[in-house]
Amino acid sequence: MYAYDEIDRTLVNERVSEFRDQVKRRLSGELTEDEFKILRLQNGVYLQLHAYMFRVAIPYGTLATNQMRALAHVARKYDRGYGHFTTRQNIQFNWIKLAELPDALEDLAKVGIHAMQTSGNNMRNVTSDQWAGVAPGEIEDPRIWSELIRQHTTLHPEFSFLPRKFKIAITASDHDRAAIKIHDIGLRLIKNEKGETGFEVLVGGGLGRTPFIAKTIKHFVHGRDILSYIEAILRVYNQYGRRDNIYKARIKILVHELGIEKFSREVEDEWQHIRNSSLQLDDEVIEDIRSRFTYPAYEKLPHMPDELRQAAADPDFEAWRKNSVAPHKVQGYSIVTISLKPTGGPPGDATAEQMDALADLADKYSFGEIRVGHEQNLALPHVAKRDLPALWKALDKLGLATPNVNLITDIIACPGLDYCSLANARSIPIAQELTRRFANHELANLIGRLHINISGCINACGHHHVGHIGILGVEKNGEEVYQITIGGRADENAALGTLIGPGVKFDEVADVVEDIVEAYLALRERPEELFMDTVKRLGVEPFKERVYATR
């Protein structure tokens, strides 16, 4: 866990009283909506179709149980009893009243939660691997660096008024769970030949209207120089960034237009001016942050406890364990992913009761810690293996043990036309239908790892471009139409999907996905060949044929 210091707490509290005053002035008419909009966005408040939406940051996806309970409390007291976990380590409340928002913010501030940097053209919350600090083989806990960057960029004037919003993600493992290649800046923590810690820096990734996979701008930046290097990137971006055209103002467009070579030369020049400035990180500063991340007092436990051996006889437990339980860096412990993708449910939603119950389980089985990942699932990061059977039973009672993590029904979907005022089409009901079609977990396991991503408009909040199967809702003559892509991926081999053909209607989407899956099952060379690999080997043609032959 991370211990906030006094400065953070004061800042958060000041923001709450400032916002309370602003809301009061807005409701009395002293502030117009035009004047107020930027202020509410700075506090995570959007307007959706039916209500305001309130987005709360969960920095690098780490939540303490008292924080989870505070989120449950907000869901219950100020909203309709649930919250929605998003792909950016945020939670959104969909039905919040403006007049009550200051109270909600104040309740959250008591446990150190805030909504800064969740919206607006600023540096957004720095996201990280949800397994940070517990994944085996990780270079170092990436949250240490997320936090250093967060402290430097929070409310820093240069980062508060950017041409557009700006997103950074950090990973420290070979397998990238933070999707760094689709962020404005992606950082991969590595060690150089001398054993020094630093970063491979990637720049210019992003989805939306014009999707790009990030490119490597520098193969190694020493840890102590990372702030100055990021600042150099931001300065070049600020100089060139096109504030005149909202669609072109993202750094990905600039990198694309200048070319990565020219862009990196400019950054390098800028960096030489500032790298030996006060931006250089002292070892003590890094150590101070490092020391604020504490880890549980793990016990010395056997690799294979009796409880686990006995439970292995239960096929239901085994089905869950295979997909939800991952190795931990400490022997005898596991990382448990909690699926927020029940059959027929909206991806990423959790009720206040589930949040509270999960907090209790985390206290009992995970040293009071919960993680939020970009796949809209949660995780318990420190579960003793001997407790897995008991935890599974408890999760199952709560509807939180769907054994589908990383399978076809573990769908990422944006809110779409059911909530979002920018949407062209619905996303959630498509996801719900797909989870019903593939509700048979044996079938889902037979299919293997397959990610479906759904967005309700080109803003791509559901990351459809990088879904193994991507579904994008558009509008044609007043009707919802869906474009299907295949072959995208969001991990270390990130790629954009390819469109398979003309869009299909709302009612046909699930049939089309079934066709694609059937084609894959028929075409794969062996059961271990994943959907991604079959698409890579054969291209989109055979899938296209299968889908459109009868349509």
């Binding site: 009395s28 909506e33 179709l49 039916h50 209500a51 009893g81 007049a99 509008e475």
Partner: protein, 105 residues
């Protein structure tokens, strides 16, 4: 549905209303003929040509304390005179999400 937030020119093809979100709680409201806001579509002022639409919208925009983000939305008038939302987006705004909400299922 192309988002009406991108609505630039005012051109209406049939009966329409002005809709927005109420400022204090964000719920969907409709501009009434009595220069006020109502949560009931049946109480909305119906406009039938661009001039009427422009006038109603201007009046709604001026009431910034009451509701925010006003725009013109199509409606259908049934044989019985009942006013219905003119497209899926407006239907969802009026009747709520098309999916079960977790806390209710």
């Amino acid at each position: 549905m192309t988002s009406p937030l991108e609505q630039k020119k005012i051109r209406i093809a049939g009966p329409s209303v002005v809709t927005a979100n109420r400022t204090w709680d964000g719920i969907v409201v409709y501009r009434t003929a009595a220069k006020s806001w109502s949560a009931e579509l049946s109480e909305a002022a119906i406009v039938r040509n661009s001039d009427e639409a422009k006038a109603l919208l201007a009046e709604a925009v001026a009431d910034d304390v009451g509701a925010i983000g006003p725009y013109i939305a199509p409606v259908q008038i049934g044989d019985d005179g009942k006013v219905l939302p003119g497209n899926l987006r407006e239907q969802i705004r009026r009747t709520g999400v098309t999916i079960g909400q977790p806390a209710q299922v």
